[in-house]
């Protein structure tokens, strides 16, 4: 007889009472669980213990999600003979270990040593020239979402860069909108999951109303390589905007570009607390598509959100896949 086995069966059958229960009556639970001491030193989110312990060393990573949020790169701007504005970029791809949650290091593949890669920003009709230098052991590409000739597609056979090589992608940016670029070498899933992606924002020729602009690339990391993500985030670092909320001004128009590159999960989403946003799908229209407070996106879907906070206070934003939210994709705006 295996007593533990039948003990368990007994317990499941609810065969309680009598001598045993009298001998070993379970003490009743106290009315309220005592609030224990806070773990770690870094987490200030105030979600009753939910979150990570400690702080990510952004300096060692070489990039800070708070900088990425507002870091738009126009490249080296000049004009060609036809008078067209030209944005020239030099991008290197190389592997780099990055801390995706406090103390958790992920062997990422990067553009320019950061995940997501630089946010490229041009205006519709501008010429874009990006020279990709491959400093890694695998072939890589830059595949832009947007109009371009087949030879500039950045796929195996068209602009794929072997280790040590380089290639210059040259095209005219259109249509305007919130777009993205990513590596398209095979295996595709691996190259994306490792961190080879970034936002590509094309402004309408006439511009948009004045606003405070931000970019969030919703991503995730499968740190143990079992096909499921352990860490979710906006701009790579779990809870980065929860530990240090994003400062905003009340009454100011906010324009948020959101790109979903989450691998291993079919959808991701963003939900803003205590406000509604005007949703510009793919950012390709000057008129909003709807007014809502949550938008769900498949991989490579991206949208432009405009909103305004009326009153000061701390307002959460997070994936409404609560699983993702509690695995890192939660942040807050500190509105003053």
């Amino acid at each position: 007889m295996r007593r533990r086995t039948f003990l368990a069966r007994l317990g499941a059958a609810g065969a309680l009472g009598g001598v045993g229960t009298a001998v070993l009556a379970r003490q009743p639970l106290p009315a309220a669980a005592p609030a224990g001491p806070r773990g770690g030193d870094g987490h200030q989110g105030g979600h009753e213990g939910m979150g990570t312990v400690g702080r990510v060393d952004h300096a060692r990573n070489g990039f800070d999600p708070h900088r990425i949020l507002e870091d738009f790169d126009a490249g080296t701007v000049s004009r060609d003979r036809q008078g067209r504005v030209v944005h020239e970029y030099e991008m290197a791809t190389f592997p780099q270990d990055i801390e995706v949650a406090p103390g958790v290091v992920y062997p990422a593949w990067t553009y320019e040593g950061r995940v997501p890669g630089p946010t490229l920003r041009v205006t519709e009709g501008d010429r874009v020239r990006v020279r990709l230098v491959n400093g890694s052991a695998h072939p890589h590409t830059l595949h832009f979402h947007g109009f371009h000739p087949a030879g500039m597609d950045g796929v195996p056979g068209a602009g794929e860069v072997e280790p040590g090589g380089s290639f210059t992608y040259d095209f005219v940016a259109e249509p305007f909108g919130t777009h993205l670029y990513h590596c398209h070498s095979l295996p595709l899933r691996e190259h994306l999951a490792r961190g080879l992606y970034g936002a590509f924002i094309v402004d309408p020729p006439g511009g948009r109303p004045e606003a405070h602009e931000m970019v969030m690339v919703m991503n995730a990391f499968d740190t143990d390589f079992d096909g499921e993500n352990e860490v979710y985030a906006a701009n790579t670092v779990a809870f980065a905007y929860d530990v240090d909320p994003v400062p905003l001004r009340a009454g100011e128009l906010q324009r948020l570009h959101v790109v979903n590159v989450t691998e291993h999960d079919p959808v991701n989403s963003i939900h803003l607390h205590a406000t509604f946003f005007r949703l510009y799908r793919t950012g390709t229209s000057l008129e909003p598509h709807e007014l809502t407070d949550v938008v769900t996106m498949g991989q490579a879907e991206r949208h432009m959100l405009e909103f305004t906070y009326r009153e000061p206070g701390r307002y959460l934003f997070h994936a409404h896949q609560t699983e993702f939210a509690e695995l890192g994709w939660t942040g807050a705006f500190e509105v003053r």
């Binding site: 368990a8 007994l10 317990g11 003490q27 949650a101 406090p102 958790v104 740190t223």
Partner: protein
């Protein structure tokens, strides 16, 4: 073995004159061993020293040197292996990080884990997930060298009976999962808990064992054939306990941290206890004080009690651990099952003593009253030896010791009970008992009784 040396089987009963018995054909030579004289041993030693060195202190020193030389060579080889690292270049993989959760203590709103690095490389415990969410934790030491342990505390509003999935995330992103299927508040070690467990232990072990032993007078009045059957019953019960101990021990071995090698611990316990008990049984052999086939009836009963006691210690460990972590709830049916189970064990202890009626003190050797008191005292001792370990096991188990200890304890029990079962079987054979249908039936009856007392309650 010199079977031809032994012409007759001699049986001795507890301090009485040897009783001569007719040898039964077939197995007498197999089970009897000749007495080796002291002289022959001395001769052998002399022969060895003559071969390996001169006698005296010089011989001692030179044989020490001879023994040390291979040891030195081994140390040298290990040093070379460490320096050269011949494996480097043969394997491109990095060692996998591993953490073992040795112990979980649950209090309202709080989860405490005792975690040990049981892998081949250092591990940093970076984050903790509870039910798929990062949860803040405190730890004594986040960076753990090989075999280093630490306490991890998470304040989490867990609910009794609702499964908990805990994931420990290491610095390299490796995830170590630990599931608590049926969480309940952990019993705190206290005088009160100890008292409750002692009462429980006494109720489920010594009391029913004593009841089982109370079969003894009936056994003594039975015919010799029935006495043999009682011994066969004992063998059957012990055989069942061997299987049970092995199953429990290997189960615990599976739960033990990998670096401890639970199966190895089980083997150490099992083989060690076999050797110790066998050596104890052989003590005094050849001195003429013991019968050639091993032990007296009382000695056998003591062996059976010790074996059952060791098994019950392991059972106590398992039940104590299960109760303390709230994995199970104790109920009347369970207590009844234990009672029947252990009463059967009492009967097994009484078995070998049943035949002692024939060796009862003769009228001249003391008053019957004094003899009866002595017997009662001896029986109480046997009950204590076999039953009280349950209480000790419950106490230790309630401290939720790492699973490796349970593997070791059940290993000791399995080995001990196997050795005892073998000794009792040998004794039965030496008595001249044959494998009659009655004896075989008694053997099977014991196995079935143990099985049924286990299952009926469930």
């Amino acid at each position: 073995m010199h079977g031809g040396d032994v012409q007759r089987q001699v049986e001795q009963r507890d301090g009485e004159q040897p009783i001569e018995r007719r040898p039964s054909a077939g197995w007498s030579g197999r089970f009897a061993r000749p007495a080796r004289t002291a002289r022959s041993a001395r001769t052998a030693r002399t022969a060895r020293s003559a071969r390996f060195g001169r006698p005296g202190r010089l011989a001692c020193a030179s044989s020490l040197a001879l023994a040390a030389a291979p040891l030195l060579a081994l140390v040298l080889v290990v040093a070379v292996l460490l320096a050269v690292d011949p494996v480097r270049g043969l394997t491109g993989t990095v060692p996998v990080e591993s953490l073992a959760v040795e112990r979980v203590v649950l209090e309202p709103g709080r989860i405490e884990l005792q975690v040990r690095n049981d892998g081949r490389t250092d591990v940093t415990l970076a984050q903790v997930q509870v039910n798929g969410a990062y949860w803040q934790h405190t730890t004594d030491e986040a960076r753990l060298g090989r075999l280093a342990g630490t306490r991890v505390v998470v304040d989490y509003p867990w609910e009794p009976g609702v499964p908990l999935r805990i994931a420990l995330v290491t610095g390299t992103g490796v995830v170590i999962d630990h599931e608590i299927d049926n969480p309940g508040e952990t019993l705190r070690p206290s005088g009160d808990t100890a008292r409750r467990l002692a009462v429980l232990g006494l109720l489920i072990a010594p009391v029913p064992i004593a009841i089982g032993v109370a079969w003894l007078p009936a056994l003594r009045r039975s015919r010799a054939a029935w006495f043999d059957a009682a011994i066969a019953f004992t063998v059957g019960l012990l055989a069942f306990l061997v299987v049970d101990s092995a199953a429990e021990g290997l189960d615990a071995a599976g739960d033990a941290p990998g670096v401890l090698d639970g199966v190895g611990l089980f083997a150490v316990g099992a083989l060690g206890s076999v050797a110790v008990l066998a050596a104890a049984g052989d003590r005094g052999r050849g001195t003429g004080r013991m019968p050639a086939h091993g032990v007296s009836a009382v000695g056998l009963a003591v062996l059976v009690a010790v074996g059952i006691g060791l098994h019950n210690f392991g059972e106590g460990l398992a039940v104590g651990a299960a109760v303390s972590t709230g994995e199970v709830a104790l109920g009347t049916a369970l207590v009844v099952a234990f009672t029947l189970h252990n009463a059967t064990e009492g009967l097994a202890i009484a078995g070998p003593l049943g035949g002692a009626a024939s060796a009862a003190p003769s009228p001249g050797s003391g008053t019957a009253r004094r003899s009866r008191a002595r017997v009662a005292g001896a029986l109480a001792g046997l009950v204590a030896v076999s039953g009280l370990p349950v209480v000790a096991g419950l106490w230790l188990g309630a401290l939720a010791l790492p699973a490796g200890w349970a593997a070791l304890a059940f290993g000791v029990a399995a080995g001990a009970v196997a050795q005892v079962a073998w000794a009792v079987a040998r004794w039965l054979h030496a008595r001249g008992a044959a494998l009659t249908p009655l004896n075989a039936g008694a053997f099977v009856a014991a196995v079935v009784a143990m099985y049924l007392t286990g299952v009926l309650a469930g």
